[in-house]
Symmetry: C2
Subunit: 151 residues, 2 copies
DNA sequence: TATAATTCGGACAAAAAACTCTTTAAGGAG
DNA sequence: CTCCTTAAAGAGTTTTTTGTCCGAATTATA
């Protein structure tokens, strides 16, 4: 039902970067502060996104991270394939190594259409779109600093 | 996208028990062997399901586990609420502590209908039904012993 | 060139999840 | 009552995930 923390941080960070002026590097420290996530851990995640070509990074003064040209259009599916592994949509919900239309687990045919909707949703959502939504002010990218609720 | 191993084992075990004669205790050892799952770990999971009233357990000779009276009708949602925690459907996909229609993350309104379909599916699937499906022989509850594929 | 600011890389640490081991309690059968 | 079989309980281990730390490399600016 949930994504790994790594994936959540990655998506949040990418959306945040996408809300900023393109080409202007954003500091890891600023992203971490804004999202209220551990900076050193986030740095690792951003490094990984760089290696996979979603982000560009710049060292030294005026350094930081920004979306690679054209990557505003990338889908959440693409992001999650990087953070969760290339076939995170292909795994059987019961964990069977082999589970397909031919050799199916008892949940397979009920799960399949639902999974397909999830996939369609992830393919449809782009960083650009999500960033625009955030910029309207109607959506929240992180918890308010003061909220200390249960996880 | 996936369930915890604990949840997967729990569902598999419950379906397996549901395929057996009701009232006849099934040995943990037999379930573990059938599902190809670590027996000691499975025992913990079954214990937990007992504590929550889904299973009855019997010690000593002729002991084992069987579904509590009426629990053939229980839904996967019920099972997962026990294994994943009572509000595993209520968590924000981005991990925000507060995320509702009023205070939404940018994915909230896209995710909500999809999540609702997942919930509906989980509510609709019962152990009885799944057990029947398995008994037709068309579905597989565990991997074949010989299959050594990538996870 | 010196300095400060930043990412990079690797090792390390802590927490959570998955899994094991050992002992105890309970129940059925001889 | 004794023996065997089973689950219960709890401590311990391993693996994975999450998170920290520090030194080195890189870059703009004074």
């Amino acid at each position: 039902m949930v994504l790994s923390r790594t994936s959540q941080y990655a998506i949040q960070a990418l959306i945040y970067i996408a809300t900023q002026a393109p080409g202007e590097p954003v500091l890891n420290r600023d992203i971490a502060e804004r999202l209220n996530v551990p900076a050193a851990y986030l740095a690792k995640i951003l490094q990984n996104l760089c290696k996979h070509g979603l982000l560009d990074s710049f060292r030294g003064r005026l350094g930081g991270f920004c979306l690679r040209e054209g990557m505003q259009k990338s889908s959440l599916m693409l992001v999650l394939q990087l953070t969760e592994g290339p076939d995170f949509t292909k795994n059987c919900i019961l964990g069977l190594k082999e589970c397909s239309d031919e050799t199916a687990c008892p949940m397979h045919f009920k799960w399949k259409p639902v999974k397909n909707r999830i996939i369609a949703m992830l393919n449809a959502m782009t960083l650009e779109e999500l960033a625009k939504a955030v910029l309207t002010g109607k959506y929240r990218l992180a918890d308010l600093p003061g909220s200390a609720l249960a996880a």
